[in-house]
């Protein structure tokens, strides 16, 4: 039961982590909470579902297809909306991204109907590891999370694009002074972040099975909790915060009851924030 709870927490946390890391880098460059972030998770699952159902593609092919579709949508949103959020007060970002979320959600409902769909794909056969039964897909999610976080850490600290992301999140004025093309970095980061959310959606779809237009809403709130806990723009902090939240939820659900899960998780979060206002992993208080 205890190992079960730990494994469940890590797998759930890995799903959160993939969505959250996208939001944390977007938050870093824009200081805007992307209230539409869960919608990109939703769009990812819909993209893959569409590929499987309409184009008869195998799951493995529908993954890149979904990512390309979402990246294109994110690019459009980035150019039309997010670019304008640079240098704007944070309230503007909230209303604008709420608007984006409403539009994306309801366009999907308009195109595909409000009724839920079934996702048919992925590797869902259970395998036994350490006496715990787990689907292959979930192992894939955990592995994918680790690989992607490794790559992101490398990207953020070693590559030119990664450094510009950090630069924009640290000082926009200085970026202008040294000639960083801030709008391009912001749009690029937004597309990257949204594509990561979509990847999480596509990888999770085989285990969550059902998809519908409004499925992204609850993800956004949890994601927000994670990035605040992990420290803004802190990539590895996000992974650990997501795992901690996943473990916390898993223990509450296992020993207390599912209905108390969100409340206990949020209570713990409030306690954590009260004690460590800058999040668990950031080097200094940043927001």
């Amino acid at each position: 039961m205890l190992t079960d709870a730990v494994v469940n927490g890590i797998t759930a946390g890995s799903v959160y982590a993939l969505v959250a890391v996208g939001m944390t880098i977007i938050f870093g460059v824009l200081r805007a909470i992307n209230f539409a972030h869960g919608e990109f998770y939703m769009l990812g699952t819909f993209g893959a579902w569409w590929g499987i159902e309409t184009l008869d593609l195998p799951y493995i092919v529908s993954i890149p297809l979904a990512l390309i579709i979402v990246a294109a949508i994110a690019l459009a949103v980035g150019v039309l909306v997010m670019k304008r959020l640079i240098d704007q007060p944070f309230q503007i970002g909230i209303v604008a991204t709420l608007g984006v979320s409403l539009v994306l959600q309801n366009v999907i409902i308009l195109i595909f109907g409000g009724a839920y769909k079934m996702f048919d794909g992925g590797w869902i056969e259970p395998v036994e590891i350490l006496g715990i039964s787990l689907s292959e897909q979930r192992i894939l999610i955990v592995v994918a999370a680790l690989v992607i976080f490794g790559l992101l850490e490398l990207m953020v600290h070693r590559t030119r694009f990664g450094k510009t992301i950090r630069a924009v999140s640290q000082n926009i004025e200085a970026c202008k002074v040294v000639g960083v093309n801030v709008p391009v970095v912001v749009i690029g980061t937004f597309v990257l972040g949204c594509t990561l959310a979509a990847l999480s959606g596509v990888l999770t779809a085989p285990v969550t099975v059902s998809l519908y237009g409004g499925m992204g809403t609850s993800i956004t709130v949890k994601t927000f909790a994670i990035i605040v806990m992990g420290g803004v723009g802190n990539v590895s902090g996000t992974l650990f915060a997501a795992w901690i939240l996943g473990l916390m939820e898993s223990f509450v659900a296992s020993y207390l009851g599912l209905q108390f899960r969100d409340a206990v998780a949020f209570t713990a979060l409030i306690v954590v924030l009260t004690l460590l206002p800058g999040g668990l992993f950031s080097k200094r208080e940043r927001f």
């Binding site: 450094k163 510009t164 630069a167 640290q170 000082n171 004025e173 200085a174 202008k176 002074v177 000639g179």
Partner: protein, 258 residues
């Protein structure tokens, strides 16, 4: 190293009107700067000195007039294009990436204008500011105020500017740091880079500048060599906007303070 830049064309600002959004701070400003000059902008608070630098660098809203540079009008260009045209800007206050190391900060500066290679660029700056080399692995935010100011000047120099706009480099620095910063500015200017400096520390500015331009309410109301004006006269201009009757004094009278 910068000698080849001698003879660069002048900065030629005409009837410039600019500000932030609907708020106009620069009103009909005229100023020309010859190549290799070191011009100190002075004037009371709110005269528009910092705004002028921002405007030249493309970070304010221009509502009229022109900024001639290199024989073309750079008014309305983005900071990136202005950088490309050879103008660099060091704003007031801390303007670096506090969580990045000194190395990374310098890399950021050379990313934008990819001319040389990173390593050579960095070494050039470390030659100029050896203290940065000692602290190259430290986050910029942990550096002292003077060190950060030098870092920012170094970042600006990486852009190989022919015109350096620098805003209040002495604010919050120790006297030694101030001396060091101004020594470096003079060296940069000697290297052939034209400098437009905004500085509250009038004494220091008048020591290093080759010319002074006095701003009041968004206009240049007087310009000339530092020797051509006394501290009393400066103070009077700041207050009234008018040059008082000359009651000539020795120019280096130390007891005169603003």
């Amino acid at each position: 190293m910068l000698d080849d830049l001698r003879g660069a064309p002048a900065l030629d600002i005409r009837d410039l009107r600019a500000g932030y959004g609907p708020l106009e701070i620069i009103r009909s400003l005229n100023l020309t700067v010859e190549p290799g000059e070191f011009v100190a902008l002075m004037g009371p608070n709110g005269a528009g000195k910092s705004t002028l630098l921002k405007t030249i660098f493309g970070m304010a809203t221009i509502t009229g007039g022109s900024i001639g540079w290199d024989g073309r009008n750079v008014a309305g260009m983005t900071p990136r294009r202005i950088l490309g045209a050879g103008i660099a800007y060091v704003p007031q206050g801390r303007c670096n990436f506090p969580l990045m190391s000194v190395d990374e900060n310098l890399d950021m500066a050379s990313y934008a204008v990819p001319k040389g290679n990173l390593k050579a660029d960095r070494d050039r700056i470390y030659d100029l500011f050896p203290v940065l080399h000692e602290r190259r692995r430290q986050p910029a935010g942990n550096l002292s105020g003077g060190e950060q100011q030098m870092l920012e000047m170094g970042m600006a120099m990486l852009m190989r500017p022919r015109l350096l706009l620098i805003d209040e480099p002495s604010v919050g620095l120790s006297p030694q740091s101030i001396q060091k910063v101004f020594d470096e500015l003079v060296a940069i200017n000697r290297g052939g880079c034209t400098i437009l400096l905004v500085e509250q520390n009038t004494r220091k500015a008048m020591q290093v500048a080759s010319r002074v331009a006095i701003l009041r309410l968004g206009e240049v109301i007087w310009t000339g060599p530092p020797a051509g004006i006394t501290f009393e006269e400066l103070g009077a201009i700041f207050m009234t906007g008018e040059l008082p009757q000359r009651a000539r004094k020795t120019e280096d009278s130390d007891e005169t303070r603003l």
